[in-house]
Symmetry: D2
Subunit: 363 residues, 4 copies
């Protein structure tokens, strides 16, 4: 059994790292195709993390990202990736190709697999987030043979889209990591590194992680500004992570660079980021981690804007529209005051890697 | 109102030629992006037909087809088209981009439009044909904003896939052409041209049009052989059209070249092909025209193999599995004996161009 | 010592097949990157010949040729090849990459090697042929580290271009094959196959091999017509080989298909083609074989038009301008009447493979 | 007369801005194709400067740069540009395409023009700088029809490479700008903007501009470190400009960001940069401006390392090897002490734009 796992971004790896372990345990031959932002310095080259995590797994780099991060370059780099990755898949001829989630690069990988008749496993289909990602995610679902979804509602949606009888509710791989992270040593400031104002992780602090919304690109800078202003209003120390690679990134990064009194961190291993979520008073922004892992970890979340619209959520999430200073300030106050929530298994119990490997290889 | 119409193949043009006329009549600014096999000599360069039909419409050529027609080149050329066409769409900035049907190149055009936030109109979504085209068609549907479908059943499927409230049952543009064709002068042997054995179009004859099936590529030569043998068994003069550009084409073309006693024709304007369908005793093969236009024209059809599986059909169609000599021979006998069927409006009444233009521009 | 040999066309393989043998004999690790027309059915997929010739050499296919064969697609496919082959070269990390001659695809391979700091060996630089190939050939020379040229005059030119001290006069690999071919069994009509009029290879006949000239693309059909008419004027049986893949090919192929009374052959292994040159009364056209191998074999050659302008030639060549019926007819008469010429070593003695391998690996 | 000017980087624009003016004055129809780093925020998007400078000239953006800036992405983006720009050139069908200098992207533009039979004008061929740029520059020369070189020695080299009789010694366009700049108002700190330590431009200061050397990529960070350390040794205020986009850029940028006590500036209009050169005590680094414009302006230059090797230079240049702290410190001392040099016309008299326009359009 040969399986090609396509990783196009740091968050995707978090979803499949336990799958890789569970596949290897079952004797499968795993190949990793590292693409797109997984290769870029700017995003911490998760390909290097994977090389360290899996020294015996062959990892190929498939370069295709255009510089510019505009709508046009999103289209062009998807084309470039499709052209390139098809050669890799043809050479590997895997029994399955596995892709994750909904980024535009994933559509390219999915098309390559579909055209080459490589059965495609789609992890994390059927969800709703309210932007162009919805279109991409559903298009990938249409191109897939096997669907490993995170939640019951996602399964229903995928069934509606495909009528497939190869839909499996496996939970989300990131909950596997969250489960382990909960038991690990706390994150310290030394470990954290980063730049800007000092931060003391044993005192209360909030974490900010806000990505550009493709459909609202022109508003990216303003959205980031409102969030940072609201956080600073509370005088709580703020730890800001850099936004992801999407049209609008550059504008947001500029706002962060020009804001004083915050501590910025470029990259954090997913497991450590999740441990951090158990330490902070609240997570502010629009990261999917606020919806998914944080529901399992019980972290209070202030979820801003449309990026996670439609995603199922647990009781730990408080939604506010983007660009609303007062609502944002109030929501932060309420959530910080509330303190940790009870753990929810909405997105899985922490055994997703094992269950996906079972689907592909049997027990 | 500026509308970019993407034409990737001869049959696609047949579906939108009356749309172009109806849009121009309403004062819309129409641009045509001619792509893929629409540019290739081997397929009669429908771009030249369009230039002649619409001398005032700007037509840009977007070259991307790789030579080889393998599964790999299908993937690569889709990538190349996505990379190229995105520049064209960005420069045009149309109010709508319109794409047709389900070929792999269309996925590229649809992705480019989706990433660039150009509202996408998909003509002929929601159908079923039982090959990788189904995946492509549904993926395109997911990337689209407006859906102009041919039949009621297609509308139901698109609603299930998208929940969209922009689904319009407009019929199929090819029925518009069929309607006109019915009243035109009969096709003559002189007009036909072509090569091989002579053919007399006022005496009984059958038309053969069989395309490779992507999923059954290895079987392509054999499928064509069985069809040609069955036709020749009946001693009816046979007019063979060349198969379309898909993996397997070369093998089929070779079989045709090595068969004696048949008349071959490389290209025929769509309208003339449809007129021919009203003259022939039967159409043999797996062309969608046998299912769609022929239902309106009442032509007896012997539909071979899986290529049209799942497509709605009228009473004029007799299905046989591919590669079954006896069943094929028998079906040809029955259909030729039956003679013309009653016209059906399953795929429209011949006003599709007007109705699609109405959807985009109003009456 | 790991060496990547880039083969982009059938004639290129003829130039390096003995190099491969000589490298393997010296223990080098040879990889072949088969690109462009080396992969295409239309040109007899020389990649399959190579797989048969060297079952233990890893051969990778790098697809990039666009369908269309226009000036535009020449540019685009060069770009596509550059993008693709760079990944292959990076993965192989060879000690040398070896490229041959002057086709536009070779520029892409040369650039990829140059940018990746892979030392580039250029075989057959420094010659002159009077079309855009001159520009490409000299551009490749500029990108190369080691130059294995065929003739003394070529060495002088390369020195003038580069001032390099890594210029080696190794002769042309095709003479190695010509040397062996001379001693092999004659080609028979049965072995030849092909289509059209019968041909008897033990009686006098002429061989026609004429390629399109990129700079005179619009004239391609006419040039082929004049040549075929002149040949038929002599009532000598004519064996016509299909022209090569360049802008203008389709027009020429059409003329050939519409000419009666000739025998056409799609592909012939290089060695057998050379044996044929020792059997025919004359070679008519603009093939480089008429200048190079034929000089060694002593075949009378009527060289038409500008394609070989500037190439050094032996006494066996009679030049005529293209599109001149009378001059062409007269030249054919003279050369056929003259009969075989004395062998010349202008392009080498048949030890080119050994000498190039020596340059790279030592004796 | 229609002329397409290909600008791939900020420095290229400096070489042709006066050409554009002189062409427009002569009634030529000028089109600009803005490519590669000319489009990137990181390099100050010179395309926006051009739009402002020439509001009536149509400027098309041709995106192709890959993120990553490795040797591999250099190859890939050259391929992507070749594929894209060929469509633009075919659509424009200019009488001439004009390219500048030697970057790898320029090879792509030159190939596209050559294949499409667009006569290519190469500005700034025939020079020597001692890295892979030499190969690219000479390859571009081979693909060109008209050569507008800066110096007599460059003319000799181009003649040796091509034997062409279309070689014109026109001087360098950057001297045109230098000539004007000399008479403009001095640059002020306010105008300068930038980040880091304050700088007073009416007191003595040095300018640092050092780019990565492709062949010495691994050493990039160290080279920058030695230069910055040497400058700080002298306690002279330092104004550091960001290095150009080439493999190694990221490492250099990191060193600059981590150095205290320097003032950094991201972009400066070429004319203002040249005015600055008349104000500073010395220019330190490996910019070609130190060799070219500075010779005309008389600025003392400390030229570090191999990047300008082989380039003709005036008396104002003092060369030191890269990575040599003591030699660098000493050279800075000597040059600052010497003060301004006498103006040299080695690279032109400031009329290059007029002369190149004359070559293309006549007086």
């Amino acid at each position: 059994m040969r399986i090609a796992i396509v990783v196009t971004a740091r968050p995707s790896y978090a979803k499949v790292s336990t799958v890789i372990g569970a596949l290897l345990k079952r004797g499968a031959e795993v190949h990793i195709l590292a693409c797109a932002s997984a290769l870029l310095e700017r995003y911490g080259r998760v390909v290097d993390v994977m090389r360290k995590d899996w020294p015996d797994v062959p990892i190929e780099e498939v370069w295709s990202t255009y510089e510019g991060a505009t709508l046009l370059t999103s289209a062009k780099e998807t084309g470039a990736l499709l052209t390139e990755i098809s050669s890799h898949l043809l050479r590997l001829r895997p029994d399955f190709a596995l892709v994750v989630a909904d980024r535009h690069e994933v559509v390219a990988a999915a098309q390559a697999a579909a055209y080459l008749h490589v059965p495609l496993v789609h992890v994390q289909g059927g969800e709703r987030t309210g932007s162009i990602d919805d279109k991409c995610r559903d298009a990938i679902t249409q191109l897939s043979e096997v669907h490993c979804v995170a939640t019951r509602r996602a399964a229903f949606r995928v069934y509606g889209l495909t009528g497939s009888d190869a839909i499996h509710i496996t939970g989300c791989g990131s909950i596997d990591i969250a489960k382990d992270a909960r038991n690990s040593a706390p994150v310290t400031a030394v470990e954290l590194g980063g730049a800007g104002a000092d931060i003391d992780l044993v005192k209360p602090f909030v974490v900010v992680l806000q990505h550009p919304v493709t459909d609202e690109m022109a508003d990216a800078a303003h959205q980031m500004q409102v969030t940072l202003d609201a956080v600073r209003e509370h005088k709580l120390p703020a730890l800001v992570l850099w936004p992801g690679q999407d049209a609008g990134h550059d504008a947001m990064a500029k706002v962060i660079r020009m804001t004083d009194g915050i501590h910025t961190v470029r990259n954090l291993p997913p497991a450590r980021f999740l441990r951090l979520l158990t330490q902070c008073s609240a997570l502010v922004g629009n990261s999917s981690a606020g919806i998914r892992e944080a529901s399992y970890l019980g972290t209070p979340v202030i979820n801003i804007g449309s990026r996670q619209t439609g995603r199922e959520r647990g009781p730990n999430v408080r939604d506010v529209p983007s660009g609303e200073p007062l609502a944002t300030i109030r929501a932060i106050y309420d959530q910080v005051t509330h303190g940790p929530f009870k753990s929810s298994t909405l997105y899985g119990k922490g055994d997703s890697g094992e269950r996906i490997a079972e689907v592909l290889c049997g027990r």
